[in-house]
Structure formats: C-alpha cells, structure tokens
Amino acid sequence: MRVLLEVDDLLRSSRAHAIGRGLVPVPVLATVLCSAGFLYGLAMGSFNGQIQQMLYSGLKVPLLLLVATLVCLPSFFVLNSVLGLRDDFSAALRGVFAAQATLAVVLAATSPWPLLLYGSTTDYRLALNFNGLPFLLGALAAQIVLARHYRPLIARNRRQHLALWTWIFLYILVAMQSAWAMRPFVGDPSLEPQFFRDDAWSNGFVEIGRDLLRLGGLDRR
C-alpha cells in the first residue's frame, strides 16, 4: 500500500518526489523501479508459459534500467560539475531517478497488454515487436517527468539544456546495448530459456545496422 502511495506521489511529482533540490529518495525509487520492472518482466517473459523465462525476464527488466542509469551516472556528474551546475545537481538527479522509476511504473501499468497479446497469437516476431510499445510509452512518460524536473533548472541556467540532452543521448546509447546484451526478454519458443544468449556480446547497433542494410538491399549476404 505504501508503495502505491509513493507511486502516486511520483507521478504527480509531489511530496518526497517534488521538483527541486533536496535528498534523492533513492530507497523508495529503487523499490518502485525493481518491483514495477519485475512485474513487467514476468509478463514479458510469459510468452512460452515457462516459469524460468518469466523469472529471468523479471530480473532483467529492472537490471536493464539500473545498469543503464549507473553506467551513465559518473559522466553526468562530471558534466554537471564542469558546466558549473553542481549546485543544482541534486535537483537534476531527482529528475533522472524519478524518470527511471516512472518508466518502470508505466511498464508495470501496461503489463497486462503483452498477456493479452500472448493469449491471442503464437507469432514470436509479433510478440517481440509488440513489447517495444510499452517501452516506448514508458520512455515518453519518463521524458515528461524529466522535463518537469528540468524546467525550473533550465529557466535558471540555459546550460542545463546541454546536460539534459547529453544525459538522454548517453542513456539511450547504453540502454540500447544493455537491452541487446541482456536478451532474451520474450523467449524464442524454439530455444531453451536462457538468462543471456550465447552471442550476448555482439553489438546491438551493428546488428541493427546490418538488418537495415539488408532491408534496404545494400547488403546481399
């Protein structure tokens, strides 16, 4: 019940999650992120109805969000300091963490969607692509929360724009590769449940680029 109240405050950016400086409510946000991410992961990994894959995906969704955030955090901190924005760093961090938790909350809220789809089709490619939609919506919601936190910061100092966009760029860069490295999330019915694929350490951007070249007829291999 307490978590739900915190989620309500998070979505409204009120009380402990209000916009501005102050302590970042890390334990609360981490709890929300992990529990909400786990819930969506369970639903996402249920395509084959295998408990093992559901648990793997349940663990990997919050892990994905945490890894992407933590890897980018040192550069975000240094960039803020170098740009002379250190005084507002706690406010920026509150926005960044709140955005991550919001993304997880949106995923949890949309977790019935893949269940509905899985109940209607056995097409693996469709299931795979469909899961992009909740992530897209979650990312948009995270952007709204982040923009809400950043609005007063940018009004105070225009350089916050640069810090914000650098964060977004680095986060997308790392999150996409993390998602690629941590797959499978849905679980190919022709393969055994796995935590990581055997070719986990290939490069997501390169693979996507090759696919696009193939689609465009530029690579005929």
């Binding site: 890897v71 980018c72 040192p74 960039l79 300091s81 170098v82 390169v206």
Partner: protein, 298 residues
Amino acid sequence: MARILTDIDRLIRGEMLDAPALGRGEVKVDLRSLLRVGLVLGLVYGVFMGLYASLRPAHASMLAMVATTLKVPLLFLLTFLVTFPSLYVFSTLMGSKCRLHESLGLLIASMGTNLAVLASVGPITAFFTLCTDSYPFLVLLNVFFFALSGLISVGILSRSVRSLARAKEIVATDADFVVEEKIVDDDETDAKLDDEDDFVEETASAVIATLTPGDSPETPTDFDRTRSPRIRHATASPTDSLARVFRAWVIIYGIVGAQMGWILRPLIGTPDLPFAWFRPREGSFLTGLGQALVQLFR
C-alpha cells in the same frame, strides 16, 4: 588518494582556475595540482581504453593495456607540446595580452577539464568493451568520446579566454586614459596615480561581475553596449582577432590530437594483430576512421 579526489573535485568545479583573478585580467592556476590530476585522469581513461586489448580473444595482452594506460596522458602531452608554441606566438602577434604563463595556465586547465570529462565516460567505454565484440564500433565510440570531451573543454576555455581578454582590455584602456589625464595635470602625485589604477581595476572587475552573473560575458555585443564609444572603438579589433586565432587553434588542436592518436596506435588493439608498442608509420587518422566506418556493418 583523498587529496587527488579533492583536486579532481576542484578541477571539475572550475576552482583550479581562480575566477575572481580572471575577472581582474590575471590567470592564477594551481599548475602542480592540475598536472598531477591530469596525469591520474589520463591514466584512468587509459585503463578503460586498454581493457579491450587485455580481453580480446586472440593476442590478449596485459602489456597492451599498460601501454594504452601510459599512452593516453602522453597523447595529450604531445598534442599540447606541438600546438602550444604556435598558439602563443600567433595570439601574441594578433594582439593578445596574455602572457606566456597565463596562456599556459589556461590551456593546461582546459586540458584538465578535457581529461576529467574523458575519464568520466570511461565506465561507458568499459561497458561497451565488456558487452560487444565489434572492434570498429569501439574505435568510433572512442573517437566520439575524445571529440565530445574536447569540445566541452574547448567551450569552457573559450569562455575563459574571452573573459580574460576583455578584462585585460578594460584595465589597459582605462589605465591609458588615467595616465593621459595625469600628464596634463602635473601636480598629481605618483601615489595617487597608483590608487586610481587600483580603482580602475576594481571598476573593471565590478563591470565584469555585473555583466556576468556567475558566468563570463556570453555575447560581445551585450558587453560592448555598456562601454563608452572610445573604449569600444579601441578594443573591438584585438578581441576579434584573438577569437579568430583561438578558433583556428582549436581546429589545429583537433587535427594534431587526432593524428597524434594515430601515431601512438595501437591504443585499443586491433583484434588480429599481436601487441606492439607502436605500429609502422603509414596512413593517417582519416584512413583509420574511414576503415572503421567501412568495417562497422561488415
């Protein structure tokens, strides 16, 4: 260790470059701390960059990692040694009032910032090294991070140079004005002249402080508008010339840095080649970049 961390914190907060002194037209830099911190930060990024060479499937070598760790600070040092003399000479020719030690301090502070930003993206480099097998991707990622950190530090250096140049011009022009008045009025004593010089300097600082709430002047026009026509006429040209020299230097610094990186290769470690301290003299940075782009999707 604690001292190094404190120094790094001072560096990224911009406290190693004394801002009030900059407003007075002086450059006060804690050079020794800057060099020490710069070296540490360069070594840190070197470790992250050299991680690939120590983990690659064939020819994995810890020595390659050690080599890269040493080469990153060396890359910055050599680039600095190649570009600094020309920057100083040309900027002086174009009317810069920065003394040698002031230019040196500003550039080393800028390089320190560059290395701090670079070291901060080290975990991202390590992340991609650990979860990708694409060598061309790592090359391009490193090129991007070097460029990004360079641009950020150049932006900060640019503001400092502008601030310093204007502060010096105000002090110099107003000091000339005061001296002219004194020649006419012979009764004034030298002591009073010194007092007035101090007053001019303080006024210049106050003007800069007023114009730059926590920052250096953003636009020359805003700044110039508040000054008398006499001063505006006298100071417009050298600042513009200096800005042109500085822009040219930034381009040269980028080109030299890139080529220096090529000369010092291998930095990441080509997967199918054994470790060597240096590769044969051939090609250029652009050749390597082009090859990486071509091979990326193969």
